[in-house]
Structure formats: structure tokens, C-alpha cells
């Protein structure tokens, strides 16, 4: 009997929502780590009972939690994130040099094949990896070692490495995205990196060929077509058919092409989902209507999905890590809001219903399909 486990990170703790295969009945556990910010938690594709969670607070810093039983119990593991060598400087908001300072782990990406190997994207932007189940973390310094790093600047949320995508067909290929430096690719397991931002246009960057400086919000890939990437940028939804070598805008008829998350249907590699947000200074849906937009053609042509979502007086946001899909058939789609709702669609986005309505502000949503 299939089931799904929805892992929800919020501003005040983590929640685990377990649903049946029809995604009608839900069991809610939590808050885990109540009172702490949980930027992200995610399960290992190689061992679904192995979960990792990033727990942090402005008072007490970073903690990493690990579960070996699907979130029933947790243990603290290593929380020492130290930049390799002399950290150097990046640019601050005002363009002056600013020392690299670790703030928190934004995103944890377990290896596709090894439950003890996990990548961590951190603020200030860097990529770390553990190969011992989280006990120790080591920077992959080639990313910050890229010649452009001294010119990276933070986005409004800080200079965070928020997206890590692994290519299942080429285990040495990794993609990451940094706000507001852009997207990067490594073809040698994270040793060396190069920017992959050709075709991105960003207002405020005078050089149309700027190698870095783009505020990429999220990148998504379908595992069956790892050369095709989808991106929600600060403004613009983009598609690449050549593993990031070049990008084309596919915003099409979206009511706004600003937003944070983007994800791909589990069984249809050109069916993608975004949540349009009115603007970068008004972080809520256009017209007070919460609508997911779906394209079945890899972008350009979009349809609104609103059945079961609030269509008046709705002014929540959906953050970049707060959307996910399950692998059941039909594909389930999930997202969480800054208003504390987690919505689920058991039919690819046609209809929606809240699993929970009153959690703390949701930062991240991940889904595990359990068979």
C-alpha cells in the first residue's frame, strides 16, 4: 500500500504529514524542534527512513538533526560549518567588500545513492558535503573559488545557496543556484564550477552578458531528462535544453513572472508548476487569488489552477523550497504558504485541499513516496 510523507519546515518547527495513497487521510506529527527555524528537511532517496533537517536560530546558531526512522526520533549530528582556507570577501548590498560569514544551512540535498552523503547549501553562499551521515561537514571550495565570487552580492533574503540539483545520469554533474549570484554547474563532482547564466536578463544589471549577478530563485529538473532545466528567476521563468548552457524565457501568459518555487510533474517531464507572485515588493498573489499555474508544454502556455484554493483576500507567499511533487499516479503536488497552510493536490493540480491550515509560516515542503 503506497503512502506519502510530507516534510514541512516552518519558522517555528518541523512537521511530518503522513498520507494514504489516495492522499485523503492525513496524520500530522510535530512540532519537532519547536521554536526553532527549520529551513529545510529532506529524506534520502537511497533510504527513505533517513531524514536530515536544518535547525537554526539567531540566538543559538545552526544545528543539524538526523532521523533513522522516518522522523519518529531524531539525533543531533555535526553542526560545524567552517569555510575552507581564508574565507575572503564578497560584496555587501552597498557594493563594499564584506567578509564571508556562515549564517545557516538553507538546503540539504541527500545523495541519490548513499544515505550518508548529503550536500548542504549555506548562507553566505557555499556548498558543503558530509560523507559520514552528517557527523562532519567539509566545504567544496571550488565553487567559492570561482573567480567571480568576490563580486557576488546578497539578495534580499541573504546570500544563500538554496538550490542543489543532482544529475541522475551523470553522477559527477551538479547544479546549484545562489541568490543573487546565479546558477552554476560542476561536471567533476563539485571540484570545479562555472556559471551557467547565458540568456538570463536581469533589470539592474547593465551588462546584458553578465556572467554572474542574476537572482535565481529556484531550478527544477525531471530525472528522465536531466539536460532540461526549468528556472524561476526573480522575474522571468526560464527553460534550458542544454544543461544550462543557454536559457530561453518561457513566462508566456503568466499574470506575473515573479515567484519563488518551480517544480516538474513526476511523470510528464514538460509539465511544470509555478506560483505567480505580484512583484518583488509585494510578496503576495495577484488580485488576492492564490493560483498555481501549470504548463504542459515546458512553459509559454500556462493555465491557472485554483480549484480548492482561496480566490479572494489571499495575501500569502510561497517560498522557493515550499513546493514538491510525489511519484504516485496521478502525481500529487504540494505547497506551503507563509500563512501556515499546506495544500495538496492528488490529481496533478486539478483540485486542491489543505492538509493543515494553521502551521507557523512554511519555509519548505518536501515529499517522500513510500511504497
Amino acid at each position: 500500500m503506497s503512502s506519502v510523507r510530507v516534510l514541512v519546515g516552518t519558522r517555528k518547527g518541523a512537521f511530518v504529514l503522513t498520507g494514504d495513497g489516495k492522499r485523503e487521510r492525513w496524520d500530522v506529527s510535530g512540532p519537532h524542534f519547536g521554536g526553532w527555524e527549520i529551513y529545510h528537511l529532506k529524506g534520502s532517496p537511497a533510504d527513505p527512513n533517513r531524514l536530515y533537517a536544518s535547525q537554526s536560530s539567531a540566538w543559538f546558531g545552526q544545528v543539524i538533526q538526523r532521523s533513522n526512522d522516518g522522523g519518529k526520533t531524531w539525533e543531533t549530528v555535526g553542526n560545524k560549518f567552517v569555510y575552507d582556507g581564508i574565507p575572503g570577501t564578497h560584496l555587501w548590498y552597498d557594493g563594499t567588500p564584506h567578509p564571508w560569514e556562515f549564517a545557516r544551512v538553507w538546503h540539504l540535498e541527500p545523495s541519490l545513492t548513499d544515505p550518508d552523503t548529503v550536500y548542504a547549501g549555506v548562507e553566505d553562499a557555499a556548498l558543503f558535503r558530509t560523507t559520514d551521515g552528517g557527523q562532519s561537514w567539509h566545504e567544496l571550495p571550488g565553487l567559492r573559488g570561482h573567480g567571480s565570487a568576490a563580486a557576488w552580492q546578497p539578495g534580499a533574503g541573504g546570500m544563500c545557496l538554496h538550490t542543489i540539483v543532482q544529475d541522475p545520469s551523470q553522477p559527477r554533474r551538479l547544479f546549484v543556484a545562489i541568490s543573487a549570484a546565479g546558477a552554476f554547474r560542476s561536471d567533476d563532482a563539485g571540484t570545479t564550477w562555472r556559471p551557467i547564466n547565458r540568456g538570463l536578463k536581469s533589470e539592474g544589471i547593465p551588462d546584458p552578458n553578465a556572467e554572474v549577478g542574476h537572482c535565481v530563485h529556484r531550478i527544477a529538473m525531471h530525472p528522465s531528462r536531466p539536460g532540461v532545466l526549468f528556472m524561476q528567476k526573480h522575474w522571468d521563468v526560464m527553460r534550458s535544453a542544454d544543461a544550462g548552457e543557454s536559457w530561453q524565457e518561457v513566462s508566456g501568459n503568466l499574470p506575473s513572472d515573479f515567484g519563488f518555487p518551480i517544480d516538474v510533474h513526476a511523470h510528464e517531464p514538460e509539465t511544470i508548476y509555478v506560483v505567480p507572485i505580484k512583484s518583488d515588493s509585494e510578496h503576495y498573489p495577484p488580485d488576492g487569488k492564490l493560483r498555481v499555474y501549470r504548463s504542459r508544454s515546458g512553459g509559454q502556455e500556462w493555465e491557472p489552477l485554483s480549484n480548492g484554493l482561496p480566490q479572494r483576500h489571499c495575501y500569502v507567499n510561497v517560498l522557493r523550497d515550499a513546493m514538491a511533487v510525489d511519484a504516485l499516479d496521478p502525481c500529487g503536488v504540494y505547497f506551503g504558504t507563509t500563512g501556515g497552510q499546506v495544500y495538496a493536490s492528488p490529481d496533478g493540480g486539478n483540485t486542491w485541499a489543505p492538509i493543515v491550515r494553521d502551521l507557523p509560516s512554511v519555509v519548505s515542503v518536501e515529499v517522500q513516496t513510500l511504497r
Binding site: 524542534f33 519547536g34 521554536g35 526553532w36 536560530s57 539567531a58 540566538w59 543559538f60 546558531g61 545552526q62 544545528v63 543531533t76 553542526n79 560545524k80 567552517v82
Partner: protein, 99 residues
């Protein structure tokens, strides 16, 4: 000698303790020796009170004992005698915030 330490609620949860923590600390009893003993007994607290690398107090954490703010004293300065005898606890305090 046995030292009493009071942790803020979130660190009690993290360390899975309730109420005061009791630690055996060799003389001289200083903030550093108390925190070293605390982190040895409860390794999950490493990095949450002091920076992993520099060992400095995190900005939103303060140290008190015997109604004195010791946050800005040297970590190697002896703590009040009453802390060393266990008559008074060493307090780790999280800054109050909430608006």
C-alpha cells in the same frame, strides 16, 4: 567540584535535560572551564553558545551569576566563589526578543 548550570529553554530541549545541569569542573572554575565541561557532557551544545572556531560567545547569549552580568568578562576569569561551591548557578541566558 560540582557546578550548577542553568540553560535557556531551547538549549534544554536540544540537550534533552530539564532544570539545572550539574557538572564536575576542576579548579579554577571559569566560564571557559564550565562551558568546556558542559560541551563535553552535552556535545550537541557545541556551537550553540560559543562559536565553533573562535570560541567567542554568540551575540544573543549572555552569562550571569550571583546577579552579575559576566558576559564581557574574560572567559578565563574566575567565577564567583558561590558558583564554585555550587551555592549559586551559572546562568546561560538567551536575549529576550519578541517586539
Amino acid at each position: 567540584m560540582t557546578i550548577r548550570v542553568v540553560l535557556p529553554a531551547h538549549l534544554q530541549t536540544l540537550a534533552r535535560v530539564s532544570g539545572e545541569v550539574k557538572l564536575d569542573v576542576d579548579s579554577p572554575v571559569t566560564p571557559r572551564s564550565v562551558l568546556d565541561a558542559l560541551e563535553t557532557a552535552y556535545p550537541m551544545l557545541r556551537g550553540t553558545i560559543r562559536d565553533h572556531v573562535t570560541g567567542t560567545r554568540r551575540p544573543f547569549v549572555r552569562f550571569f551569576a550571583c546577579e552579575q552580568d559576566l558576559s564581557h568578562e574574560s572567559q578565563d576569569a574566575p567565577l564567583p566563589e558561590a558558583v564554585g561551591t555550587g551555592a549559586e548557578p551559572f546562568l546561560v541566558i538567551g536575549a529576550m526578543a519578541g517586539g
